[in-house]
């Protein structure tokens, strides 16, 4: 049951949006507490965050979708029902988004231009999808190439959030042989702060957390060397995985339907990439904290890492060769045998020659010398 709206609702602020949707201060504080925990902030920051966000003007956001599958948008709009995504859209003014906006054609482009003009230097740009650098016709919107639209929109932005692995690292379009010449946002925009939120798709609460941080502190969170918020991407999935104790006990599922799999043992031997994947899946989880891939019985495929698609088969353990085969080793052994036979033949020939050339000394010769 929703409580009364926050008393200090100022027109045009997030607080007003929350009040209009009947979200109580208690609910909002609860939400901010979980966000503060996710962002590794002290508990006291929850109320500061709630205050700052509710007083903040709804952030203008322009969402650009390039070479993508709409999975990122699906992820954010269809999970944590009903609170998180609605809270996120209450915090922002989503001025342009192909999938979600009602307008189309010229009207849609006009909305983007208007938002850029009205919020010059203050709006956030969210990008999902990679940008093709080959033929502009690979991906264009309203006759504008993805590259040109990104450059034009990024010019007046306060910061850019690259949502999903495609925008952050190039993702699947960037996979070998990269037919469209796909690149991530960071290879085109060099003069604006870029927050990478990789994942295929990314976790919704990470997205919300980044926005909340921006609204509360007016800046971007601390990032790692790949431009990812440290609070969400600081640990590997393996280190936070609830199956980690089984790894340490040497208990592994060997197939997807053996006793080990049924007992919930570690999936390392089934190709889990959790040890080299930095993300919050094991802690934040999906679908309102219900589960994540490993909990569902499938190893992590490392979807938030750069070039994960080209990092070897999904079902081969990390400690095994990507492409070496017993046949390859058999060929090497055959080569070794051939070389060994050649060397043996050479050694024996040398020995035989030395024997043949060796001058034999007889007892007669020795007796002659004694005389």
């Amino acid at each position: 049951m929703k409580q009364a709206a926050p008393p200090d609702t100022i027109p045009g602020t997030v607080g007003e949006g929350l009040a209009q949707h009947g979200i109580s201060r208690r609910d909002f504080l609860q939400f901010c507490t979980s966000l503060a925990a996710m962002l590794a902030l002290p508990p006291a920051m929850a109320s500061v965050m709630a205050e700052a966000i509710s007083r903040a003007k709804r952030q203008s956001v322009i969402w650009l979708s390039f070479q993508e599958c709409t999975g990122c948008t699906e992820s954010i709009t269809r999970s944590h029902s009903p609170t998180l995504e609605s809270l996120m859209f209450d915090m922002i003014s989503l001025d342009y988004h192909h999938t979600l906006q009602a307008a189309s054609g010229e009207a849609a482009e006009h909305a983007r231009m208007q938002a850029m003009k009205d919020n010059e230097g203050k709006y956030l740009v969210i990008v999902d999808g990679s940008i093709p650098m080959g033929n502009p016709g690979y991906s264009a919107i309203a006759g504008i190439s993805n590259h040109d639209m990104l450059v034009e929109t990024a010019k007046g932005a306060a910061a850019i959030v690259a949502v999903g692995t495609c925008a952050a690292h190039g993702g699947i379009p960037h996979a070998d042989p990269n037919p469209t010449g796909a690149v991530p946002v960071s290879e085109i925009v060099k003069d604006k702060p870029i927050i990478n939120v990789p994942g295929c798709p990314p976790i919704p609460v990470v997205m919300t957390g980044v926005l909340a941080h921006f609204l509360t502190f007016g800046g971007i969170p601390e990032l790692d060397d790949l431009g990812r918020p440290k609070s969400f991407y600081g640990d590997t999935i393996h280190d936070r995985c609830y199956r980690r104790p089984f790894y340490d006990q040497g208990k592994f599922a060997e197939t997807f339907d053996d006793e080990g799999a049924r007992q919930g043992w570690c999936l390392f031997k089934l190709g889990c990439k959790g040890p080299v994947t930095y993300n919050a899946c094991a802690t934040a989880k999906w679908n309102d904290g219900t589960s994540f891939p490993i909990q569902s019985g499938h190893g992590c495929i490392g979807c938030s890492e750069p070039n994960f698609w080209d990092a070897g088969p999904f079902y081969k353990p990390l400690s095994t060769p990507v492409s070496a085969t017993p046949a390859m080793l058999a060929a090497a052994a055959a080569a070794g045998v051939a070389a060994g036979v050649a060397i043996t033949w050479h050694n024996r020939s040398t020995k035989a020659r030395a024997n043949a050339e060796h001058a034999k000394v007889t007892t007669q010769d020795l007796k002659r010398e004694e005389k």
Partner: protein, 219 residues
């Protein structure tokens, strides 16, 4: 090039070439050694030699009487190192997965706390052995560059594996790649250095045991 790209290269082309050099190198060296042959011993054996070679393969692993007093450092450290290396190499889960991928054989692993302790013991023993080699005048005089190369090639996989497991110094993915590179260095060095004893050890023990039996000192 990201850390994951480096790891993929370490698990891919680099490992393929290292494994091929290793397999071809070991096969070549064994052929070379066995191909030398021995002159037929025409003398009548002094004692029955049945099983002496096989017994010697194992009895040479037991301490010789008095050796603990004569050279305790070499003996104890040698034993600790080889035991630690054996346990950490063959009983750590991810290593078993590697052997299974290459041979199809698999066996139960040990808890990581035990394999980790075994690796630490092996590292400490290697350091002690190096210090002893440098401090003992006879050992120092007998040591050549090959000994130090073999020591380094053996230490690096143990050290990088330990550091990767404990997330020490550098990021895990990169350290795992370094671990694999160090293993690849070991694979390339092994057939052409004294480390080949991991293969020739039992052959030479069998030969010695058998030859000594002919001379009347069967084990």
């Amino acid at each position: 090039m990201t850390h994951l790209d480096i790891l993929t290269f370490a698990r891919g082309s680099a490992l393929n070439w290292a494994l091929m050099v290793f397999v071809a190198g070991v096969t070549l060296r064994l052929f070379e050694i066995l191909g030398f042959g021995r002159k037929a011993d025409l003398a009548k054996p002094r004692a029955p030699r049945v099983g002496s070679g096989w017994r010697t393969m194992f009895t040479r692993s037991l301490p010789e009487p008095g050796i603990l007093r004569r050279d305790p450092v070499t003996y104890i450290s040698g034993y600790v190192f080889h035991s630690g290396l054996f346990l950490s190499l063959f009983f750590f889960g991810p290593h078993i997965a590697f052997f299974r991928s290459m041979t199809g054989l698999s066996w139960p692993g040990l808890p990581t706390a035990l394999t980790d302790a075994a690796a630490v013991a092996a590292i400490v023993a290697l350091v002690v052995l190096l210090a002893h080699r440098l401090n003992n005048p006879v050992k120092r005089m007998l040591s050549g560059i090959g000994d130090y190369v073999a020591w380094t090639a053996t230490l690096l996989p143990l050290l990088t594996g330990y550091m990767a497991y404990h997330h020490l110094l550098i990021e895990y993915t990169l350290m795992l790649a370094l671990h694999l590179f160090s293993v690849e260095l070991l694979l390339v060095v092994l057939p052409f250095s004294k480390l080949l004893h991991s293969f020739t050890l039992f052959i030479s023990r069998w030969y010695n045991g058998d030859a000594f039996a002919r001379k009347g000192v069967a084990s």
